[in-house]
């Protein structure tokens, strides 16, 4: 085992230990925000695999999340509580008696989402650029509309309530770390290089013997699997799942995260997930009434938060096109160099400068 692997294992253990300890200390609000950060990181990583690493402009994440979330909701609600929710039309008897543990339901959700991606991949991945974006966005809406109309399975527009709430930070952070490690190993493998080659130049990649369609499908299916897992966790975190949660606007959060973090950077995506999710919470004061010197500031009302966020996104797109990390990854070496740079600043220098 080399030094880098050892460092990574220590870092992972430290994060998991911290998650385990904080789970007992923090209040439920802070815990929920931190859990959401980790879940958003999982979904953003899945989106970045397709958009940032393989160079395909896909906007289907909300749909894949819905598949994962509904799978978890359908199979984890205790059997005896189901009839109360499904009062318009009873639950389909084929699934009404099946209850699965959360982990099994999560994995099933991921697999169903991946299967769906595989099926729609055949027509959709023949498209490029904006056309691909529109097609994936369309499929994401189709999923939502199907779920709205399959009353006996998904309870339609009423949604599914009583999903056993998940608030265990250790479990969610473990899932996030597994996703990060998987993505890191995938991207640094020969398959990851093939994905990047497709991103850089499809014609050249093909001329170098990389089968475009096979690799695009791989990337798309893996992405859908993790979006399904993320969606399942999201559903379990909310405790209720209904179709309105999975509007296509949900995908924009993840687009914002990967653009801010850097298209093609795993660590950038994770950092941006925390910034955006915490930022969304912190900026809530924009939505509240603000009284300054007895004067009520008129623009402070619900919705201003989104305006501020839109402005931030425009600033990023205009001035920081590569995002926080570009295509680079955060590494121990980078941190060490940054530390050295800070120490090198005149402020930290002990000796007198020339001429003084």
């Amino acid at each position: 085992m080399n030094k880098k692997t050892l460092h990574s294992i220590i870092a992972i253990a430290a994060i998991l230990a911290a998650a385990w300890i904080l789970n007992g200390i923090l209040d439920s609000y802070v815990r929920r925000v931190l859990n959401l950060c980790a879940i958003y990181a999982i979904i953003s990583l899945s989106l970045n695999l397709v958009n940032g690493f393989t160079g395909m402009f896909s906007l289907g994440q909300a749909g894949f999340m819905a598949i994962g979330a509904y799978t978890v909701a359908i199979f984890t609600v205790p059997v005896e509580l189901r009839a109360a929710g499904f009062y318009l039309e009873p639950m389909n008897p084929l699934i009404a008696g099946i209850e699965l543990p959360l982990l099994a339901a999560l994995i099933l959700g991921g697999l169903l989402s991946a299967t769906f991606a595989f099926i729609i991949g055949f027509p959709v991945l023949r498209l490029r650029g904006d056309y691909l974006a529109i097609a994936t966005l369309g499929f994401s809406e189709i999923i939502r509309i199907i779920f709205t109309n399959t009353q006996s399975i998904t309870n339609g527009a009423l949604g599914i309530k009583n999903v056993p709430a998940l608030s265990n930070m250790f479990f969610i952070y473990l899932a996030a770390i597994i996703t990060i490690v998987f993505m890191r190993l995938l991207i640094s493998s020969s398959y990851g290089r093939a994905f990047k080659a497709i991103r850089e130049d499809e014609i050249v990649a093909e001329a170098m013997g990389i089968n475009l369609f096979k690799h695009k499908i791989m990337s798309f299916v893996i992405s859908a699997f993790f979006a399904g897992i993320g969606g399942g966790l999201y559903g379990a975190l909310l405790g209720t799942v209904d179709p309105k949660n999975f509007m296509f606007t949900l995908t924009y959060n993840f687009v914002l995260i990967i653009v801010l973090g850097g298209l093609g950077s795993i660590s950038g995506t994770v950092i941006a997930s925390f910034i955006i999710t915490i930022g969304m919470e912190w900026l809530r004061f924009f939505d509240d009434e603000l009284v300054l010197f007895g004067f009520k500031v008129p623009i402070f009302r619900p919705g201003l938060r989104m305006v501020v966020f839109s402005v931030l996104l425009m600033v990023i797109v205009l001035f920081f096109q590569k995002g926080l990390m570009g295509q680079k990854e955060l590494s121990f070496d980078m941190l060490r160099q940054a530390a050295a740079r800070v120490k090198g600043l005149p402020l930290f220098k002990n000796g007198r400068r020339k001429g003084e």
Binding site: F182, L185, L186, S189, S190, Y191, R193, A194, K196, A197, R199, E200, D201, I203, V204, A205, E206, A207, M208, G209, I210, N211, L212, M218, I222, G264, Q327
Partner: protein, 256 residues
Amino acid sequence: MMLEAENLTMRFGGVTAVDSLSLEVPENEIIALIGPNGAGKTTVFNMITGTYAPTSGKITFRGRDITARNPSYIAKQGIGRTFQNIRLFKGLTVFENVITAKHLHLKSNLFQAVFRISGLSPYPAEERKFIEETESLLEKLDLLDLRDATSTSLPYGKQRRLEIARALATNPSLLLLDEPAAGMNPQETIELARFIERIRDEFKITILLIEHHMDLVMDISKNIYVMDFGVNIAVGSPAEIQGDRRVIEAYLGSGD
């Protein structure tokens, strides 16, 4: 015969870019394809590599019919190419550009590649082999000292060389070079001629090249095919081509 093309025709709507071209590339030789701009030379390359499906005609590579096959299939059969305008993987380093081209030899599946535990997965051994081969290739082409430089930061000549290195990394038996000397001065062109002969001998490959620098073409080609407006107007050794009246007319125009 390494590569044979019979009556290749490529039409784009009403334009016939290539009109029943027949071509023979014998093993271990350097064959050139020349002609004025717009003669259809690059279209021939695109048909051989599968980027375009020919309107009619047949392409045989080492006895196997490869007409209109998928470009990645053709690359796997052993045809490598470079591009007229340098097309490197811009965001990647020199090393990454070359090792990426090794991917077509990978036997491990995706899960073996991700869960790469030595002993359980064949991937680590394959990856080690790729790294060794890539480094030895870079060394042979004098690019090893630039290993970690971003590909686009290289000077022009080195970028051309890197593109050839990347094509060689697929272990081709036929290498298609599309204007390798474009933008080079006479001195660099002479060096390139020696370089092309060297890689032919060292990697035991056959080379088909498109080129406008006549000194280079006459110097290294065994046989030359001349195209004009999609039609093959002459075939022959450099000496024969130099004396061919139709070739001179195609380049300089007729006297009347």
